[in-house]
Symmetry: C2
Subunit: 558 residues, 2 copies
């Protein structure tokens, strides 16, 4: 597919435009390069975008993280970049198509029912037409499925299914179609090698109220899986069938007009980690901290002349030595100097920058371990940072501490916490164009719902004890440098159990060379020194003598 052939087709069918979302039949989750139609059409490689092609033009919608990257990657003569920080896709559609009786094509296997319903409500005069050339659903690459063992999961699939079936019954449904790969994977304690970073089994599971279930998947060695086409035959059997419209392709409603929009309760169940999962998370973070600390020591001695790609590979090599390591949890971001101002920058081997002194390296990375998932960002001064870098890094640290040490009532949503983190930056007229935190799965998706710490995406899902979330404020100065400080935390009851607070999981030093201690309050300084003491005491027995001496210095109180 290319934009010209799509435009030809639009003209032939008298269509006003066609919407492309970045996804496959698992909607919002990770996709493989061969499934990325937006990249195929535009060259844009970021993890989020929308594309709208009209007979005459193409518009690529990107958020704050990707504005710079999109400018670099796409052909700006043929594709217009629209900044989602300036106009939402919905407002843009409304501005352009509200008055006409537009005919808009979409891919029914890739667009969710909730998105389609939203678009229909937005443009009541428009006609939405399933595109004829929907293309391949999933990569044809054969997939190996494997069991996620009880010693890691803490709960067998049978129990999870029984618990979920009871919920289905309580909702008055006959069955529920789980369409999220992460939910399916958690429920069945299955994982697969389909994706490079997220070990989920990309399957649907149809669960009946009595606990019986059927799995739908393709190109896998999971023998009893049915092909997706079978849904057309099976779904009509249930008078009362639920599915979460946010993760269910519009095509499904074609087979099951009786489908009722019901929140994916598995997503809520899996977001609250059980004691085995939490213990695993702590252990995985300890090992991940060891790997990252060994790397940081190595980096301090060896950065000169290395490329961004090379340091990311070195970090991976350290992680690979750790117990239970499976893969990175996403492609590590190593952004040097001005590259770090591109929020989700990815170096390629050819263009990767060479590290030099007197600049900062932003390193956002994580690991999938069988007993947990990590995600950590450190910003590291190479040589002597400028006063500006130190000031901004200290503000980002203040932002991080403000939220990391917050106490909040039960039922608080992430959007009610986000501005606590942003205050130190906003008061200086600074901000960052991304959320402050996201949920993290367990040997699963590194971005997990339902909760999310963001004031931009108004999310009312409350944080609950047992959830794992990142806290990752940042600051990005275009063409200069980028800063982000990210730890993962579990949500725990506070002393008074009506309230919750965060307990840190991530164990790795925060670069003191980038901290101006005179900008910290006593409380903030205490937080930092305590955190460093915890890092040192946790990691010290896993390091060589030289690494230990380096860490002792890195963690010494300010």
């Amino acid at each position: 597919m290319d934009i010209k052939s799509i435009q030809k087709e639009l003209k032939a069918q008298k269509l006003s435009g066609r919407i492309f979302t970045l996804g496959n039949l698992f909607i919002g989750e990770d996709i493989l390069p061969e499934e990325n139609r937006i990249c195929e059409l535009t060259g844009f490689t970021g993890s989020y975008a929308l594309l709208f092609v009209t007979p005459a033009k193409a518009y690529l919608f990107v958020d704050g993280r990707y504005e710079l990257q999109a400018k670099k990657e796409v052909n700006l003569r043929r594709i217009e970049i629209v900044k989602l920080s300036e106009i939402s896709f919905c407002s843009w559609l409304k501005n352009n198509f509200a008055k006409s009786s537009a005919r808009i094509a979409y891919n029914p296997w890739i667009i969710s029912l909730s998105t389609l319903n939203g678009l229909k409500k937005l443009l009541p005069a428009a006609e939405f037409i399933p595109a004829a050339n929907a293309g391949r659903l999933l990569s044809p690459k054969p997939v190996k499925v494997f069991t996620h063992q009880k010693k890691f999961t803490g709960q067998v699939s049978k129990d999870k299914l029984a618990q979920f079936a009871a919920h289905i019954k309580k909702c008055g449904l006959d069955a529920f179609l789980v369409t999220s790969a992460a939910s399916t994977s958690w429920l069945l304690n299955l994982r697969s090698n389909a994706l490079p970073y997220t070990p989920v089994f990309r399957a649907y599971v149809l669960v009946e109220k009595n606990g019986a279930y059927k799995v739908f998947a393709e190109n896998t060695d999971y023998e009893t899986a049915l092909p997706f086409a079978k849904l057309a035959e099976i779904l009509p059997r249930y008078a009362k069938l639920g599915a979460d419209f946010c993760s269910t392709p519009a095509a499904i409603a074609g087979f099951a007009p009786q489908l009722a929009d019901t929140a994916d309760a598995v997503a809520a169940m899996k977001a609250v980690k059980n004691p085995t999962e939490l213990k695993g998370m702590r252990n995985a973070h300890l090992r991940d901290g060891v790997a990252l600390t060994k790397f940081l020591f190595w980096l301090s001695k060896n950065y000169k002349g290395k490329t961004e790609t090379e340091v990311a590979e070195k970090l991976l090599a350290f992680r690979k030595k750790e117990l239970n390591f499976y893969s990175e949890s996403f492609a590590a971001i190593a952004g040097f100097g001005a590259n770090a101002a591109v929020v989700h920058y990815h170096a390629d081997e050819k263009s990767a920058a060479v590290l030099k002194k007197n600049a900062v390296l932003l390193l956002d990375s994580g690991g999938q371990y069988y007993d947990g998932t990590t995600d950590v960002t450190r910003t590291i001064a190479l040589g002597e940072p400028s006063a500006d870098m130190t000031e901004k890094n200290t503000l980002v640290l203040k932002a991080h501490i403000a939220l990391a040490s917050a106490v909040f009532p039960q039922q608080t949503s992430g959007s009610e916490l986000d501005l606590i983190a942003r205050q130190p930056l906003l008061k200086q007229g600074l901000d960052y164009e991304h959320g402050t935190g996201h949920g993290v799965g367990f040997f699963s998706d590194v971005h997990e719902g339902p909760a999310r710490i963001s004031v931009h995406a108004k999310n009312s899902a409350p944080l609950a004890a047992g959830m794992v979330t990142s806290i990752e404020p940042g600051y990005y100065k275009e063409n200069a440098f980028g800063i982000r400080i990210e730890n993962l935390y579990t949500v725990k009851p506070a002393k008074n159990p009506k309230y919750l607070h965060f307990e840190v999981l991530t164990l790795a030093p925060i670069d003191k060379k980038l901290i101006n201690k005179y900008m910290l309050t006593t409380e903030e300084l205490t937080w930092l020194n305590r955190y460093h003491r915890q890092v040192f005491l946790s990691l010290k027995k896993y390091l060589t003598r030289q690494e230990l001496e380096w860490l002792r210095e890195a963690c010494a109180p300010l």
Copy 2:
């Protein structure tokens, strides 16, 4: 009416229970004592409560502000107090009536359509029956209506009506029934003496899309007003009629089944003050600050032996001397010692406590001026406060400053700001059981929607430039003391107009005797000293020499 006769009636009609809400046909707004059926039935005088009477029992639901007060005021043998901080009214109803096919009576002129619809959804098996003995709608006391002059309002009613009519048209409606007294009053630039503290004209106004309008009111000297009964005849004339179900009695839907639930746009229009209103607000706050400061000076010399009631009267006497003063904006709360722990305490002349040294007085009061409305709380040390009082007051001050100095994006709602204020308290395991702030009307209701700074009441209405809000964190130690520090602020664009911040309106010293400066950060101390400098410079020319010397000391930097 008394509870026994209601219970007799419930039995006769085979009803499961009857709901009483505190209101009249203007739903959530101020009511007169002779309209307060909950007080008539239970003796409870607080400004918010729900009463549910069953054939065998009566349950009074009160929030955190009124738990202590309710215990003191009602007969606990006959009435059970249910704490809304522990269970919501909805959860309680569901626990008790979800499984039965309950028959529940309500007063159709007092309960709003949105509340009734919510109850029907909550208890689908229940039957909701309009009570036969609805009783009198409004006090029979004759009401004088007067014009709020252009020099104060900045906009004539004709312009407001034209603006609103254009909105009605845009919504595709033929007419809109404004059922909020505050909205009617703002739209028509009319006020009345119906209520002691809120000068609103208690009327409905039906506005047609061409701008023509009809006023509905009773017992007033507004000559062209129609009686409410006329609605039954007039409303059916409009095919497309809107009303805000949150402020519209269920009875109205009986006359107009075509009624569409449409947000009261007047409420949003009036919440954003125009330049004349904002200038008036500033002037009114200056005069109010003069009155309060003169009072504080007087109090410092004369508190011994005075009762709570006497000091409230003295403060009123100072306000009465100020230009454009009309009335208090609510019955002043003067809570001495342990009384201040009752959040919305009201002394009566017989039981009012006598002020003594070495305790704190909490004083929450405000004025209605023709050019603005004020609402301010100061907590004042009489003699020497204890270390505990000083510590808690300093934490409350930190909470106040945290929010007062916040910067936040456009579209931020109050529930996304509330926890910024609570952090200094929550981190010490302390909290307050009320919201952090409320909108304030202009020579109108002192509690004004749509925005509200509260994490408990999930309110998604965004704060916008031109709104006026209180910031009023507190701390209450049962049987010991109570603390609250409240200022009003306008919402203003920050330097970067994508963001908003607060600008203070209230001008009165915050008692330094209750501040431990070593608990404040440099930033907080700077805020306090700057605020006091502004207070001193603003008020100094309106004071006697003695008052001036006192204020100079009260505002001297810490």
